[in-house]
Symmetry: C2
Subunit: 204 residues, 2 copies
């Protein structure tokens, strides 16, 4: 019979502190040096831990950066909460898309978010993790808001909510990634209006 | 007074042959080794030219790859031609979006296109070049088709055609880049129908 030693409360706290220091260091450093020059060595030095501590928990710099995003999204003031539901779908969607535009235009997030998107593009395993842990939960919150509008008769009954989410948020992400136009509040509003009304003329 | 020597017809032909060999080599090689491992040395070896020949015409591997795409789009059977216009907008758009889906799912293009998109994300100068020489002309062809439908009363008069293009093609590119769902003909059809009709219920 073997006895398993549980880590002490102190050790758990120390681990958690190290983990947070590493993630914060990765997020800072990628803004300063860019993803290409981000290294496990650099993150370790910035966080004041040994390289081995990082390799114990993560397999690559992409995995560290991913967890840094996850930590951000778990902040009390970050994502993870329901979308506004005032009953005015158009106004609520404009508010949310305008907030997305602001986030995408925030210089602090620019390099880390581009790096994350780039890694996802080239790494199917990271893409699956992203879909499961970050994009999936956010998508569910968006669909909840649309479902509520659908129940209120404001959206077509047979609407595919995934397609609707893709049509609302996809253009923002694309314009940001491809840099092929100004990412403004006006653009966000225009996307919401055009998506809701459709390209075809509406009578009345 | 100085006399400028014009390159002989032979030299021009040789240059053009080298240029095409280099671009074809870059396109092949990126499929085999991935963008991260693509190098000017590797391209030169594959094309049977010296490294200096490549540096004479291009500043980076990203620039070479970009021109490789431009060469592809100039093929007689490639892009550059008007979108189908049978008078049935929905059918025409579905045909075009289904063709885009097939292209995005083509394993030959997968790695090179991901690499190009990644480079654009991180390199504003390349993004500007892409917008001007590749995306811009393609976007103009898409807008021509939409303008024709607008004249026929099939699209709203006050429609912002850039927003319309973003809403139709953006979701395809996103789903491909983020790998967050199957990129199928059915998805393409659903995007077209949802964009045309809008998210709101239509009476009648």
């Amino acid at each position: 019979m073997t006895t398993q030693r549980k880590p002490s409360a102190d050790a758990t706290r120390r681990n958690e502190a190290s983990r947070r220091a590493i993630l914060a260091a990765a997020f800072e450093l990628v803004q300063e040096v860019g993803y290409a020059k981000l290294s496990i060595e650099g993150i370790a030095a910035r966080a004041g831990v040994g390289k081995q501590t990082i390799y114990r928990w993560w397999s690559s710099k992409g995995a560290v950066l991913f967890d840094a995003f996850l930590m951000l999204s778990e902040q009390p003031d970050g994502g993870g909460s329901a979308l506004p539901d005032t009953g005015d779908l158009e106004a609520d969607l404009k508010a949310v898309l305008r907030a997305t535009v602001e986030e995408l235009n925030d210089p602090r997030y620019d390099e880390p978010m581009r790096a994350l998107n780039t890694e996802i593009t080239h790494d199917p395993a990271l893409a699956a993790l992203y879909a499961e842990r970050l994009d999936g939960p956010m998508r569910e919150l968006k669909k909840q808001r649309l479902r509520s509008a659908q129940r209120a008769g404001q959206l077509a009954e047979d609407l595919d909510l995934d397609v609707a989410v893709d049509m609302l948020w996809g253009p923002l992400l694309n314009r940001w990634l491809q840099r092929n136009g100004a990412l403004t509040a006006g653009y966000a509003d225009s996307i919401v209006e055009t998506a809701l009304n459709g390209l075809r003329p509406r009578s009345g």
